[in-house]
């Protein structure tokens, strides 16, 4: 039932503590760094998170309080009544109601401010909203100070209540104050209730436990009840009344025969009659206590209204039973005989034989150790002889495990031959289909030639790249025309390219050798026929050297002119002229920007 939960109720903090805890938690568990220049959605999210976090915390804790405290309608009526007696049902319900309202208010506040935060357009505004939200939530909680304090006290008291199970076997002791109820419970159970000569020593219910007939019994001690009507009863007495009213127990009405409690027997009888309606449906025993002080027999015959069961007799009876407890628990069950047949216990033959063998101490089979001792140095441990194979003669086989990098164990399969056959069949089919034919297309000669040429081209290109890489690009550069092209190299190169260079003595590049040959004759010097001849004929004029024909000459001239066009237009002296006359022209860089775009200056 709800018994156990009374100790597990969460601590209810005071209002101030509650606020402090939650706010510091918000401080610690949410991010703290935010700057003005962050994007607005990020700022909003940051502050919204704080508001929501605070709201969540409050909500969680308040909900936990609400669920932890027992609902008076849900618990056993005994507890409901007890709590009513002790803490006032109305006040209790009101306090919890206030807490609930506070929780809802906090939720609403958070919701409103989160909604407002969506329209916050600066860090300052969002921060103010967050401050306002948290402030309002904390104020709501400050107003619950009284409820929280009250609930904390209730919680502390509740956790100290004795755990009375309203459903098990219970004995309830009641009677006038100081009649000996607590002494009785001390004697009978392990409880240690305070016993003092003054009345109302016991101020609340106490529980003790005892064993009787192998069962646990609860014994409930109540504070004494005085004889006045219900409305005038105080809290302490009301507890006793509640217990009487709701617990289904055997009631022990204790009477003080010696009148040491301060009340006459008639008064006690009066009380008994008054609370008789509470004893409906409950087994009742009237206990006459303190008989040692005044014997029953000394009672005047006028007081024969009480029954004659003596509590002490009951007491002693129970005590003796405790001694034989352990022995009584052991019991050998023997089945009752249903017919005259003898049924002795059954022992299997093997067991009997073994028992005999143990007695005889005969040697069993030959051990390995014996074998070892016998063979001495020749002994080798051969466990393979114990193997359980289908053909025992294979026991001493050396089992192959690995072949060419493959584990034989991976191929072991009872159906391997069948599968191998399938595979081989498949392979045959494939071979027939021609999958394994070596497809060497006899390439036609053309293709072969092309391949050869391509490889030559690639080789030539690589060589060219290499030679160009070997050039010294950092050092002094001479123009190409400074070096004379040797006739032999020219003719060799062209021959490599396939041209016929055999009969080239009168070509334009072989002039010198020709002239050289001529000059050796030393004849009468022939007067120069043209101006060109008087010049060294070995060197043709620049605009004619390297030029094959008129067409080429024309092309060369146009190329020359077109390369100079741009330079002439810009008024440059040549291709190396990089002089800038006006690095920062004023008309471009000075002045304000008026109309127009600012994409360039």
């Amino acid at each position: 039932m709800a018994l156990y939960n009374f100790k597990k109720i969460m601590v209810v903090p005071t209002a101030k503590d509650f606020i402090d805890i939650t706010l510091s938690k918000t401080q610690r568990k949410t991010p703290t760094v935010i700057h003005k220049h962050y994007q607005i959605h990020r700022i909003r999210h940051f502050y919204m998170r704080k508001v929501k976090f605070t709201q969540q915390n409050y909500h969680d804790r308040l909900s936990q309080i609400l669920t932890d405290f027992p609902k008076l309608d849900d618990v056993h009526p005994f507890y409901a009544d007890l709590m009513n007696v002790l803490y006032d049902k109305d006040h209790f319900k009101l306090a919890l109601g206030q807490i609930n309202i506070a929780k809802n208010l906090i939720d609403n506040v958070a919701k409103d401010y989160v909604r407002l935060m969506k329209y916050g357009d600066s860090l300052y505004r969002c921060k103010q909203l967050k401050r306002a939200a948290l402030g309002r939530m904390c104020t709501i909680l400050k107003r619950q100070k009284q409820s929280l304090e009250y609930l904390e006290q209730v919680r502390q008291h509740l956790s100290r209540l004795p755990t009375i199970d309203p459903n098990t076997r219970t004995l309830l002791l009641c009677g006038y104050p100081n009649v000996g109820k607590s002494s009785f419970i001390n004697k009978v159970t392990r409880a240690d209730v305070e016993v003092q000569p003054y009345a109302f020593t016991t101020k609340s219910l106490f529980v003790g436990h005892m064993d009787y007939k192998y069962l646990r019994w609860q014994v409930v001690d109540t504070p004494g009840i005085l004889d006045h009507p219900l409305e005038e009863r105080n809290t302490i007495e009301m507890q006793a009344i509640t217990a009487l009213a709701h617990l289904r127990a055997a009631v022990l009405y204790v009477m003080d025969v010696s009148e040491q409690c301060g009340h006459a027997l008639s008064q006690q009888l009066e009380l008994f009659n008054n609370i008789r309606p509470l004893f409906a449906n409950k087994p009742l025993i009237v206990m006459a206590n303190k008989c040692d002080v005044r014997k029953i027999s000394e009672l005047s015959e006028e007081n024969q209204a009480c029954d004659r069961l003596l509590a002490h007799r009951v007491d002693t009876k129970m005590k003796t039973k405790k001694v034989h407890d352990v022995l009584n628990r052991l019991h050998l069950a023997v089945p009752t005989k249903r017919d005259q047949k003898e049924r002795p216990p059954f022992i299997p033959e093997g067991a009997l034989l073994r028992r005999k063998a143990v007695e005889m101490d005969a040697p069993k089979r030959k051990l390995e150790r014996d074998l070892e001792v016998e063979l001495g140095d020749d002994y080798t441990l051969n466990l393979q002889k114990y193997w359980d194979l289908m053909n025992p003669e294979e026991k001493q086989d050396k089992i192959p495990e690995v072949w060419e990098g493959h584990n034989i164990a991976d191929y072991i399969d009872p159906e391997i031959m069948k599968r191998l056959e399938d595979l081989e069949r498949e392979e045959e089919l494939r071979e027939k289909a021609g999958e394994y034919d070596s497809e060497e297309e006899s390439e036609d000669e053309e293709m072969q030639e092309i391949r050869q040429l391509a490889s030559q081209i690639r080789e030539k290109r690589k060589l060219k790249i290499l030679t160009s890489k070997e050039k010294d690009t950092q050092g002094p550069r001479m123009p190409r025309t400074a070096k004379k092209v040797e006739r032999a190299t020219l003719e060799k190169e062209m021959a490599d390219l396939g041209l016929d260079m055999t009969d080239k003595d009168d070509s334009h590049y072989a002039l010198r050798s020709r002239s050289l040959v001529r000059k050796r004759k030393r004849e009468v010097s022939v007067p120069p026929m043209s101006r060109t001849r008087s010049q060294s004929t070995s060197r043709p004029p620049r605009d004619q050297s390297g030029v094959r024909d008129a067409k080429m000459l024309k092309k060369v001239k146009t190329m020359m002119k077109s390369s100079q066009k741009e330079m002439n237009r810009q008024g440059k002296k040549g291709e190396s002229d990089r002089h800038v006359f006006d690095v920062k022209p004023k008309h471009l860089l000075a002045g304000k920007r008026k109309s127009g775009s600012t994409s360039r200056r």
Binding site: W387, D388, L389, M390, N391, E394, D397, I399, P400, E401, V402, W403, E404, G405, H406, N407, I408, A409, D410, Y411, I412, D413, P414, I416, M417, R419, L420, D422, L423, E424, E426, E427, E435, Y436, M447, I450, R451, L453, A454, Q456, I457, R458, K460, R461, K464, M494, D496, L497, G498, L499, D500
Partner: protein
């Protein structure tokens, strides 16, 4: 005695070689050499590391689905030794191996055929574009012309006759 497979590169790990790593969830990883071990510690995915067998299979460079590959399978239930079965298995194993190798080689060959076509086409374009590096455009033209002229002369002479 078992030849394990390296977890990373799928190479055979002979006894006495490589390393084994046991993880907290009781999975055992065997490696053939420290290269694979180091790659594993770097949390590299063997299916993405190009030199491993796992990559090659996952990307289709090697034969994956074939009947001959189904013969070698790690079996968890040991079979009792039986001389006849073992000897048959060894013979079968040899045959299966040869067939498997043949098929794998054929697979790779087929895959590389495409390359050969591309090579051919590349050669043709190369020759077309860059023939000038090894042969002058009018190489042999002079000779041709000469021959033609000689032929023509000969014809003329014949005609005259």
């Amino acid at each position: 005695m078992r030849i394990e497979k390296c977890y990373f590169c799928s190479a055979p790990v002979y006894p006495g070689h490589g390393m084994k790593f046991v993880r907290n969830d009781c999975k055992v990883f065997g490696f053939c050499r420290s290269k694979c071990h180091k790659n594993f510690k770097k949390k590299r995915n063997p299916r993405k590391t190009r030199w491993t067998k796992a990559f090659r299979k996952s990307v289709g460079k090697e034969l994956t689905l074939d009947y001959s590959l189904e013969f070698e399978k790690r079996r968890n239930i040991p079979v009792k030794y039986n001389r006849e079965l073992w000897s048959k298995t060894v013979e079968a194993m040899k045959k299966v191996e040869s067939i498997k190798n043949k098929r794998q080689a054929r697979f790779i060959l087929n895959r590389l055929k495409k390359g050969k076509e591309l090579e051919k086409a590349a050669d043709i374009t190369e020759v077309k574009k860059n023939i000038h590096l090894i042969r002058a455009p009018h190489a042999g033209h002079a000779k041709q012309l000469e021959d033609k002229m000689v032929q023509k002369l000969a014809e003329d002479v014949e005609m005259d006759e």
